[in-house]
């Protein structure tokens, strides 16, 4: 059956890919850095802390998804126009919620997250102290 091998390869080659990708070229600034290094630095930092929508768990700086490329281009174009990175982040959060940023604003729920360990530590210390005192008597 060895003679069939090329046929298999051919079959794999001609089967239509079902990838959800367009035939359009990448957006202008998806893979092109800004000329001004300071602006590119700002854009890079922002892109590293914006979450990719279609490849969740990656930042748009790390992702090759088309939508991540479009978002990078959007960010670079806006920074080139002089917009502040935090204003762009806020604009994205307004649309996608805190989910989209890796640097979420401090809110009630995140206070709970950060406060709980300290609270539990104090509780544990109080408990331990009580025990030690009891034993001392």
């Amino acid at each position: 059956m060895r003679f069939l091998a090329p046929l298999y390869l051919l079959a794999i080659g001609i089967s239509a890919p079902t990838l959800a990708d367009s035939r359009m070229d990448a957006a202008p600034y998806a893979y092109v850095q800004l000329k001004d290094p300071a602006q590119e630095q700002q854009a890079k930092h922002l892109m590293e802390t914006i979450r990719c929508l279609v490849c969740q768990g990656q930042s748009i700086a790390d992702s090759d998804a088309e939508m991540a490329g479009d978002m990078r281009s959007l960010i670079r174009e806006r920074i080139a126009r002089g917009e502040k990175p935090e204003a762009i982040r806020a604009w994205l959060v307004e649309r996608y919620g805190d989910w989209v940023t890796y640097a979420p604003p401090t809110r009630g729920t995140s206070l709970l997250l950060w406060g709980m360990p300290a609270l539990l530590m104090m509780l544990g210390a109080a408990l331990a102290l009580g025990r030690i005192r009891k034993r001392g008597r």
Binding site: T18, A20, D21, S22, R23, M24, A27, P28, L53, V54, Q56, E66, M67, D70, M71, S73, L74, L92, V93, E94, R95, Y96, G97, W99, V100
Partner: protein, 175 residues
């Protein structure tokens, strides 16, 4: 009572381990809903993608009557799957506008020829800018927009036959 207390730490540990294991076995794949629901459509103006349909701007979505805004692409398979349902909605009198994402004119012409054409206007969004400004995270997605141009509902993924009543209800409520 003492016995229960003795086993409590182990039980708590088992609970934590269980939660973490579940996360490992079936990682969450959240769909990210748009936060634009309840807010006015952002300003935009998109050129036409095919000669047969005019382009789409935010002003077209403030026509005084609710419309369905469909975000689609000719290269997206579920978009082809929802095409018959959109045609059915159009037959019921729903006005449907579209934004074509990263699409080429020839491809859109071919898509409409193959899968039917429920659209009144089609705007061309070549680098997903308007899609992002709407808080949409993929294709296909649809938004119910009321006569004043306020987003009333978002449907993520292809509209299936069973989703139609919900969409129709949202359009009615937007009147």
């Amino acid at each position: 009572m003492r016995k229960v207390l003795l086993w409590l730490p182990l039980m708590v540990f088992a609970l934590f381990a269980g939660v973490l294991l579940r996360g490992l076995v079936s990682p969450e794949s959240a769909t990210i809903g748009s936060k634009m629901v309840g807010k006015p459509v952002p300003q935009f103006s998109l050129p036409p993608v095919v000669p047969s349909h005019p382009g789409l701007s935010s002003a077209d979505l403030k026509s005084g009557k609710p419309v369905l805004l469909n975000i689609f692409a000719s290269w997206c398979l579920p978009c082809a799957a929802e095409a018959p349902v959109l045609l059915e909605l159009q037959k019921q009198g729903v006005e449907i506008h579209a934004i074509a994402i990263r699409d080429k004119p020839d491809d859109v012409v071919e898509f409409l020829r193959k899968h039917g054409d429920p659209y009144a206007r089609i705007g061309s969004d070549v680098s997903s800018k308007v899609q992002i400004s709407l808080g949409s995270s993929g294709v296909p997605e649809s938004f119910v927009i009321d006569g004043k141009g306020v987003v009333r509902m978002q449907h993520i993924g292809d509209i299936r036959a069973e989703d139609v009543p919900q969409i129709v209800a949202a359009l009615k409520a937007a009147q």
